[in-house]
């Protein structure tokens, strides 16, 4: 019961990641692309959580936490670069 549902959820989040990638390539302005990348790393966190449940492993949570930290720092850095033309003032 649980494993087929995990595979279905992996498929749904894969479809969400495909939609994000379409917006990443299509998005007319830089903030659209940053938003698409932001949503893409959140979907990567969701995929890692599901993969950790599928493989019965605790190791994936540390990887998901690292992706959360690095993705937030990347989003803030690029948004700050758009806002000021500089990251560390």
């Amino acid at each position: 019961m649980l494993y087929p549902v995990i595979m279905i959820c992996l498929g749904i989040i894969g479809a969400a990641a495909i939609l994000n990638t379409l917006r990443l390539f299509k998005g007319p302005d830089p903030p659209d692309r940053i938003l698409a990348l932001d949503t893409l790393y959140i979907n990567a966190i969701a995929l890692l959580i599901l993969l950790g449940m599928r493989l019965d492993s605790d190791l994936f949570f540390e990887a998901a936490l690292l992706i959360a930290v690095m993705g937030f720092i990347g989003t803030v850095a690029v948004a700050k670069h758009l806002l000021r033309g500089d990251i560390i003032e």
């Binding site: 649980l2 969400a16 994000n20 903030p31 949503t39 959140i42 949570f61 989003t75 758009l82």
Partner: protein
């Protein structure tokens, strides 16, 4: 036997809710007409989607007999803290660049 079946149902429902919210957020990101509307969509994927997935995974790993497993909560706590900050930075960047919006989007404070 009974309790494990119930816990499996709860985990399944939480996983389905979370992944459907992630899909809804990405669909909004793909479909909505301008940036200030598109910013609204993925916040649902962040909070409710990943939140429900993390709760399902927490229940699943806590009821396997290895004791309580709470370190998944760090992910959703971190996302709850950082999602408004990054959304505000993106909105400020979009206002700074004076992106085009459609006529239905209200509150154009940077044009007054």
């Amino acid at each position: 036997m009974e309790t494990s079946v119930w816990i499996e149902w709860i985990v399944v429902v939480l996983l389905l809710i979370g992944s459907l919210f992630a899909l809804v957020g990405s669909f909004g990101l793909w479909k909505l007409p301008d940036f200030f509307m598109r910013l609204h969509g993925p916040t649902k994927a962040t909070t409710l989607g990943v939140g429900s997935l993390v709760m399902g995974s927490l229940i699943y790993f806590s009821t396997r007999g290895d004791g309580l497993s709470l370190h998944e909560l760090l992910i959703t706590l971190f996302l709850f803290i950082t999602a408004p900050v990054s959304a505000q930075m993106l909105a400020k960047a979009a206002m700074h660049q004076r992106l085009k919006n459609i006529a239905r989007t209200r509150g154009e404070t940077w044009r007054q």
